[in-house]
């Protein structure tokens, strides 16, 4: 799994042609809302459940 493969997969998932240029100052102020974090955690847990269940 290379760095390029991860980047290309992410671009494909977001339907983007190139990596977006984001303002660093704006990013530092960005807060992840609770519902977004909950969605992320749920996906993480689901993929770990698949992992522990095996084939």
């Amino acid at each position: 799994l290379s760095e390029e493969q991860i980047r290309d997969s992410l671009l494909q998932q977001l339907h983007l042609s190139e990596v977006p240029v984001l303002d660093k100052a704006a990013m530092e102020e960005l807060v992840i809302p609770a519902h977004v974090r909950a969605q992320y955690v749920a996906l993480l847990q689901r993929s770990h459940r698949v992992l522990s269940r095996g084939k």
Partner: protein, 291 residues
């Protein structure tokens, strides 16, 4: 005939008069748990046709002395309905006799995917006319395969030959030994591989979570089978150590929307290796069975 759009077409039904045999193989314990099926061969003994019958057939139908033999896997569904899958079909000559081999690997692979307790393996063998039509040959009536002798096993009864590989020697070895680094002689295993997203320049300010993840990779070599199989699959490559099961990776990324950045959850498929296996490129892949 019920459609307004098409003109009615009259047809004639030409009976195929197939003869059908159902072969039942009790398969439990035939395939050891730590083994991989490489090939399954059904062997049927074609009985010789009596000379007089052969001469009569040649006189009546001088052009065709062949019949079509079809092998299907028969599955009895939970609701009692029968479902057949075509496994092999070929023409056999009336002049032939002796053992005929059919590649039934797909049937056994499909049977292995049934939920337990599994029904026996059911193979339906039918002998049909080569062609349909008023002047079609009757050769199919003369093609006969030896069946199981009553009360015991005969030398010519149908046989199912299973070629397997012991996965302890020929399969992947689970997770690699973290103490010993993988070398050329290492057998196929899953090795830890940490992907540091924070260290990637392009991910800066874009990927918010996670800072990195354990992706794993498949390393090492696979032992090659030296056995000469009855059916040589032309496109089958060597056994290679590959990721046979993968999991997705959720990420929180920032996306630009209406002039401002907003966190967004995205899931990237096949980013983490769950299982490594030794597999040949070109080998039949077991399919998901519909209920």
């Amino acid at each position: 005939r019920f459609s307004q759009k098409f003109q009615e077409v009259a047809g004639r039904l030409l009976a195929s008069e197939a003869s059908r045999h159902l072969l039942v193989f009790g398969m439990e314990q035939r395939l050891p748990p730590d083994s991989e099926l490489v090939q399954a061969v059904l062997r049927l003994f074609q009985e010789p046709v009596p000379r007089a019958a052969l001469r009569r057939q040649e006189r009546l139908f001088p052009r065709s002395a062949r019949a079509r033999v079809t092998v299907e896997w028969l599955r009895v569904r939970d609701d009692g309905a029968n479902r057949t899958s075509l496994i092999d079909s070929r023409l056999v000559s009336l002049h032939d006799s002796g053992w005929k081999a059919f590649d039934v690997t797909e049937a056994v692979s499909l049977w292995q995917q049934l939920s337990r307790p599994r029904q026996p393996l059911l193979l339906q063998v039918s002998v049909q006319r080569e062609h349909l039509g008023p002047l079609a040959s009757e050769a199919h009536r003369l093609v006969r395969f030896a069946s199981q002798a009553a009360g015991g096993s005969g030398p010519r009864e149908p046989q199912l030959e299973l070629h397997t590989l012991d996965l302890k020697a020929y399969g992947a070895q689970g997770d690699c030994d973290t103490e010993a680094p993988a070398t050329e002689g290492t057998l196929c295993c899953r090795q830890e591989l940490y992907i540091d997203l924070q260290g990637m320049k392009w991910a800066e300010n874009w990927v918010l979570e996670p800072p990195g993840f354990l992706a794993y990779e498949c390393v090492g070599s696979c032992q090659q089978s030296q056995e000469s199989l009855p059916f040589q699959w032309p496109f089958l490559g060597p056994r290679q150590c590959i990721a046979s099961e993968t999991a997705s990776l959720p990420l929180i990324v920032s996306i630009q929307e209406g002039g401002r950045a907003r966190p967004h959850v995205v899931s990237l498929p096949n980013m983490r290796v769950q299982k490594c296996s030794c597999a040949s490129d070109g080998a039949p892949v077991p399919r998901e069975l519909a209920p």
